[in-house]
């Protein structure tokens, strides 16, 4: 066996040895925790499953939309023989003839002809199309192809109307096919509107995604030392604060990897196949990134992350097994969703008692405050209080979690008494 630098056994060399100990342990923990997580087969499958499903869905939507679009175009320009009657006088006979229509003398006979299959379709335009419906009769061609009758009847009416009016602009105005751009002002400047709401609300999305992806891993990563009885080996080489900090940072990095993997297909689809996938047309130039709400959003997200992380680590330290920890985990996750029950109040009446409670209760504060921040109902004073509260409570809970980990993780197979750990500490301090 090769021999590395050996420490001979005396006090002097013991001290030299401790000096030789580098300050690299945080980096070592982060690296170990990160790579062992992303190398797990379960993680790879779970992480890749969503993008694969998304790609499959996009492919199906792409194929469906391509055919739907083609079908719609084909339906509008479909050419088939039909009869029609026009009580309104709007239909231009030449346009009808061009579309394949001929005037029917007797509506009842025309309907009978469709019924017995001698005519493919019959359209009955009423005297006043604004008040009465246009009756469309056709031979059944299946659910999707049947739409062509109505499409042709509608197109014929539109072409005829335009022909009557003589102006495409007036036709557009009359049919409501006109775009509107609204602008509102606040304190003399253009108010950001929806474009100002979306960016700070993205922090809520980030918070949810990170917690949903990482919370279970946080819970289990601290339980692992306990279940594997590796704690004593760890505690004699590593400060528990360093271990917990390393775990949190590595999990955050793991979460970022997952988010990037999840978003990759969406981003690619948006960039290259947007028109074929019916993705919403987002005009990024309309987004307004106001510094106040953005900074508040970032701080609330970080603060909320700290609080929930601390609580999860503490649960991991107290509970003897992952199974038992799961019973507490459920209600904790529910705390992230409870504020949505008061969603309308959060937006319309932020002063309501329940909204105020949710704003300041540490486990509901992140989501409630992020929502209020996005919709502009969280004033700077409230924002400051909540941010400070989250960081203070989060730090305290993390310290408690480290304390519980220190004592709880060597209570192998037993549930930890929190009070017991403090009694032990109190006695130790005497």
């Amino acid at each position: 066996m090769k021999s590395s630098s050996r420490f001979t056994a005396n006090s002097m060399n013991w001290r030299k040895a401790e000096m030789a100990m580098g300050q690299h342990n945080l980096g070592t923990v982060i690296s170990f925790e990160f790579f062992r997580t992303i190398k797990k087969r379960g993680f790879v499958i779970a992480t890749l499953a969503l993008p694969v499903i998304l790609v499959l869905i996009f492919a199906l939507v792409y194929a469906s939309n391509a055919s739907t679009k083609d079908t719609a175009a084909a339906q509008k320009s479909a050419r088939f023989a039909f009869t029609y009657t026009d009580a309104s006088g709007i239909i231009v006979p030449a346009a009808a003839k061009l579309a394949g229509g001929t005037v029917a003398g007797d509506p009842a006979a025309a309907i009978a002809a469709v019924k017995d299959g001698t005519s493919e379709a019959y359209f009955a335009y009423p005297a006043d199309p604004a008040k009465e419906s246009v009756k469309v009769y056709g031979a059944d061609k299946g659910m999707f192809e049947n739409d062509k009758y109505q499409a042709v009847a509608k197109e014929l009416l539109a072409v005829s109307a335009q022909n009557q009016v003589g102006s495409p602009e007036l036709t557009a105005a009359l049919t409501g096919a006109v775009k509107f751009d609204s602008q509102t002002f606040k304190d003399g400047s253009v108010a950001p509107g929806v474009g100002g709401i979306i960016p700070p609300l993205l922090f809520l999305v980030v918070f949810y995604i990170s917690m949903i992806l990482l919370s279970n891993q946080m819970l289990n990563s601290t339980l692992e030392e306990k279940e594997n009885r590796v704690t004593e080996m760890i505690l004699t080489t590593l400060n528990p604060t360093t271990l917990i900090t390393g775990k949190i940072i590595s999990l955050f990095a793991v979460g970022l990897v997952q988010i990037l993997v999840f978003l990759a297909p969406v981003g690619l689809a948006y960039l290259f196949f947007r028109d074929r996938l019916a993705l919403p047309e987002v005009d990024l130039s309309s987004l307004v990134f106001e510094p106040g709400p953005m900074i508040t959003g970032a701080l609330l997200t970080l603060g909320g992350f700290t609080v929930f992380t601390g609580v999860l680590v503490a649960i991991g330290a107290i509970m003897p097994t992952a199974k038992e920890a799961g019973t507490v985990f459920g209600p904790l996750v529910a705390m992230m969703f409870i504020p949505f029950y008061t969603f309308s109040l959060i937006i319309s009446n932020p002063g309501a008692l329940i909204v105020q409670i949710f704003t300041y209760f540490p486990l509901t504060a992140p989501v409630t405050a992020l929502l209020r921040n996005g919709f502009g109902t969280l004033n700077p004073v409230e924002a400051t209080i909540v941010v400070v509260e989250l960081f203070v409570v989060g730090t305290l809970i993390l310290r408690l979690a480290v304390h519980l980990f220190r004592y709880g993780s060597i209570e192998y197979g037993r549930k930890l008494s929190i009070a017991g750990t403090f009694r032990r500490n109190e006695l130790a301090a005497k």
Binding site: N10, W14, R15, M21, N25, N228, A428
Partner: protein, 308 residues
């Protein structure tokens, strides 16, 4: 008690440990000197593991001084410590080499050195082909070898082994003993908690015997033996052993007996008394009282009290 002028590597003074209203260690004091092998003895629940945990900063002591190298132990001192706890385990779902390199890194080794050391160790213990295998896929004995490797990584100057042979198969027990002797020869300090008194007599320079959190014997093995009766006579005999005012029969089984001389009795007088009584003595060997016997004496009192 063999104190030297050199500062002890491990110094424990007036150590007390309370858990709630229960005092599990009281006024415990002892030193371990650099380069010696120290036996930490006592029955289950006597406070040995608690003392080690307090020494290593896992528990905070209620009172007293617990120093390693002249100061309270901190995790960053772990570079020169090899600790094999009573409760053992590693990251079972990770690969053997990854776990060893991780602990090597935590002990201050570079990644390359940790990897190289681990590969050499695995080769030595016949696990070279298992480096990329998950720990939970190894047999219990193989896992023990890995655990040992993690303990002695970085060739620590201080080895603390809490019941090192507990759960070990004979092959790994031999490996462990070889490793302890290697480190001992290389000048390392070894503290071992064990119930195997033969190992203590073979390996340890000094011992402490703990009972209910209180030291009952402390010193070199010879000093402790002297304190608990010094010399005994091991005899093999064909005839019956007589009752005598010169000795007590400590043990007797299948023609073998251990006799403890009473004050004033000499080797010659005891032998003469046996011969005169027609005990059919075939051999008569003066020897030290075994640690096993001392252990039974100390804990026997408790047993007798409980029975009383």
């Amino acid at each position: 008690m063999g104190e030297t002028a050199q500062e002890p590597l491990v110094h424990i003074q007036d150590f007390r440990m309370d858990f709630g209203d229960t005092t599990v260690i009281r006024d415990l004091s002892f030193d371990v000197h650099a380069g010696e092998t120290f036996g930490f003895l006592g029955s289950n629940g006597s406070g040995k593991t608690t003392t080690l945990r307090a020494l290593l900063g896992i528990y905070r002591p209620t009172a007293g001084t617990l120093h390693i190298g002249g100061k309270v132990f901190e995790p960053r001192d772990g570079a020169s410590l090899g600790y094999l706890p009573e409760e053992r385990g590693l990251y079972k779902k990770e690969h053997v080499l990854d776990v060893m390199v991780y602990f090597g890194r935590l002990k201050g080794l570079s990644k390359a050195t940790a990897r190289s050391w681990s590969e050499d160790y695995l080769e030595r213990v016949g696990l070279a082909g298992k480096a990329k295998t998950r720990l939970d896929k190894l047999s219990s004995g193989q896992q023990q070898k890995v655990q040992l490797g993690v303990t002695i990584m970085n060739n620590p100057g201080l080895l603390i082994l809490d019941e090192p042979t507990k759960g070990f198969d004979p092959v790994n027990r031999r490996l462990l003993m070889d490793i302890i002797e290697e480190h001992k020869r290389a000048g390392a300090t070894v503290i071992m908690v064990t119930h195997q008194m033969e190992e203590v007599e073979r390996l340890c320079d000094r011992v402490i015997l703990l009972k209910d959190g209180v030291s009952r014997a402390y010193g070199t093995v010879e000093e402790v033996q002297e304190e608990f009766g010094g010399t005994v006579y091991r005899v093999t005999h064909d005839g019956p052993l007589p009752a005598s005012a010169l000795f007590d029969v400590v043990s007797q089984e299948n023609g073998r007996a251990e006799l403890s001389p009473r004050p004033g009795a000499t080797e010659e007088s005891v032998l003469l008394a046996l011969v005169d009584a027609g005990a059919g003595i075939r051999s008569f060997t003066p020897a030290r009282i075994s640690l096993d016997e001392i252990f039974i004496q100390v804990y026997g009192e408790q047993h007798e009290l409980a029975e009383g």
